[in-house]
């Protein structure tokens, strides 16, 4: 209504135009277009988000409850982002206290918003309840205006449909591949699928804990005698063994040394973005519950960036408190200038460690 009035004011009739030859009031026309733009973009203070679960759950009541919970939480996140609020206020009927605290920890470091009004996703059944993946987010650093790009969120629910966690996903196609392999290979046991989903769930929690700067979780997840190995490229004299003149040397750290270094990195960087892709999970051939997890990691922080392979030995023998016994990092490139990549055969695997 207001828009049409402004347009009517701004654009004179053809008769007036020919009779008076007046110039169109450009200012008013510009205002009219801005109003139209605002209407067409459906600009409001923030996006209202609606989750629609299209598959994977037959209990209609539970499905609606999960949809309501995510819709409310995401809309609240958008509202808080728009208002630059320092804390997310979320009711415990939709999200557990622990999940809310964890989400607020992420919020202290990253600011994000859901970019779409309607999100349509499948529901997956997990070992503790349900899961919805693929919620599209635009992320920026909480301090400063650094854009951290696109991320997808994964939301876990308990059996009653209450949100129990909110993490950034590992590369989105991985879960689909996991789901597909389960469907294609009839021999794939559902119990094993559940184990693998549990591992990926922890890997996602682990990955998000760097964004959250959550030293408490990292201290809890690394075993006390964890072996931490970090590779570094150094220049050496060219020889038959090192034709590029570059060599990777490895240094070991204890859990405490690693966490101390990490704590310093958390303090000195306004933001840390860790992304995992190409996740490979291998089960130990003889020890049930031990898994080797290899990921390609992209580390991007306000002061430093790198890409490399992270290999971890995860121990799920106590599924309530899984632990990491080994973590290694190796650079993507031995000689980036000349495009010489690390030989894939040199990436650590489960077979490299005596357990």
């Amino acid at each position: 209504m207001i828009a049409s009035r402004i347009i009517a004011d701004a654009v004179p009739s053809g008769l007036q135009l020919t009779r008076n030859k007046k110039k169109i009031d450009m200012k008013k026309l510009l205002t009219a277009i801005v109003v139209l733009l605002a209407i067409s973009l459906q600009v409001s203070a923030y996006n209202q988000v609606r989750l629609v679960i299209n598959d994977g759950i037959s209990n209609h009541q539970l499905k609606e409850k999960m949809e309501r919970a995510v819709s409310f939480v995401m809309t609240e996140i958008n509202r808080s982002n728009e208002g630059n609020l320092k804390k997310l206020e979320l009711p415990e009927s939709y999200i557990t206290k622990e999940a809310k605290e964890s989400l607020n920890k992420l919020w202290e470091n990253d600011r994000f918003s859901c970019m779409e009004d309607e999100v349509v996703e499948r529901c997956l059944t997990t070992y503790t309840g349900y899961q919805v993946r693929g919620i599209p987010l635009i992320v920026k650093a909480a301090q400063g205006d650094e854009e951290l790009g696109y991320q997808e969120a994964v939301v876990n629910f308990d059996e009653k449909g209450v949100i129990t966690s909110f993490y950034y996903t590992i590369n989105p196609e991985l879960y689909s591949q996991l789901r597909m392999s389960q469907m294609v290979d009839k021999r794939f046991e559902v119990t094993e699928l559940k184990d693998r989903m549990m591992i990926l769930d922890y890997v996602e929690h682990f990955r998000t804990s760097y964004n959250q700067k959550d030293l408490k979780f990292l201290r809890q997840v690394f075993s006390d005698d964890a072996l931490i190995i970090t590779g570094k490229v150094i220049k050496v004299r060219k020889s038959e063994v090192t034709p590029s003149g570059n060599k990777v040397v490895y240094t070991t750290q204890t859990k405490q040394q690693y966490l101390d270094n990490l704590s310093r990195a958390f303090k000195s960087n306004s933001y840390i973005k860790v992304a995992f892709d190409n996740v490979v999970i291998v089960e130990h051939p003889t020890i049930k519950g031990i898994y080797g997890v290899t990921v390609h990691q992209r580390w991007n922080s306000s002061r430093y960036s790198d890409e490399g392979y992270v290999f971890m030995v995860w121990d799920f023998r106590n599924p309530d408190a899984p632990q990491i016994h080994v973590r290694t990092w190796q650079p993507d490139y031995i000689d980036k200038e000349h495009g010489q990549k690390l030989n894939p055969n040199d990436v650590f695997t489960l077979g490299d460690f005596d357990l």
């Binding site: 026309l29 299209n54 970019m115 349509v120």
Partner: protein, 260 residues
């Protein structure tokens, strides 16, 4: 002048936002409908996203098909055959590319025609509400109520394609490519089968006038398929006269058909 430019820019923003919103609505409509299988991938490059989305949808199709028969399936259709019935939508998501690949289950009937009855059940349980503009995009219209034959017009239309000459068949297959990346996936098998004798980038064509051309824009979207000729070529999508000169700033892939 400055004001006019500003106004034009604002109008462009309105139109772009509208188009994005329409594609988003279309994707959500398909996801909500049980008539479709789909994959939805967001990755750092359009090539990775396209390849991953197609790969996942292939797996989804094969899994869906194998769920509908008790015995082991030994005659899966080839990826090229599957690609013919797949459509894709690409949109930017901040610094990444989203590729949504989808296929109507009904369109899989020609590939898996022994499962007609099961496919009908899929339709009976459909609760989705797909917007009409999706149907407008399809090249072959599916009858709303299949009568004596489950296969209906869709299969008849596809069978008709098989009776076209070799040239028509090749062109029809190439027309299915929506972008540069899908094109390569279609071209290579055609070359292996000997249906096209060769293909390459425009600059490498020895006698361009003897080659068919697939024209693509800088984003990799296919803009036109042009027949042989020098200045004037037939646009094989519209049937009208066209020229390579009408596609400044675009690239082209040439190919030659084995017409023996």
């Amino acid at each position: 002048m400055k004001r006019t430019t500003t106004i034009l820019m604002l109008l462009c923003m309105v139109l772009t936002a509208g188009a994005l919103d329409k594609r988003q609505t279309q994707i959500n409509s398909i996801k909500k409908s049980k008539e479709y299988l789909y994959s939805d991938i967001t990755m750092r490059t359009p090539e990775d996203a396209t390849s991953q989305a197609l790969d996942l949808l292939h797996q989804e199709i094969l899994a869906w098909a194998s769920d509908r028969v008790d015995k082991e399936i030994d005659n899966y259709p080839s990826p090229v055959e599957i690609n013919k019935v797949i459509d894709t939508i690409m949109v930017r998501r901040a610094d990444m590319y989203r590729v949504f690949a989808y296929v109507k289950k009904f369109n899989l009937i020609p590939l898996f025609n022994k499962w007609d009855m099961v496919l009908l059940e899929d339709y009976d349980t459909d609760e989705g509400n797909v917007s009409e503009d999706i149907h407008e995009d399809e090249e072959i219209i599916i009858p709303e109520e299949p009568k004596d034959s489950v296969v209906g017009e869709k299969i008849r239309a596809l069978l008709k394609n098989n009776f076209l000459g070799k040239k028509g068949g090749v062109i029809e297959q190439i027309k299915k490519a929506k972008n540069f990346f899908e094109l390569k996936q279609i071209m290579e098998p055609l070359k292996e089968k000997g249906e096209i004798t060769d293909y390459g980038k425009y600059a490498t064509a020895e006698k361009p006038e003897d080659c068919y051309l697939v024209v693509y824009d800088p984003a990799g979207n296919i803009k036109a398929i042009l027949g042989k000729g020098e200045n004037v070529r037939q646009n094989l999508k519209t049937g009208k006269d066209d020229s390579i000169k009408n596609y400044r700033g675009c690239g082209a892939i040439w190919f030659t058909i084995n017409e023996k």
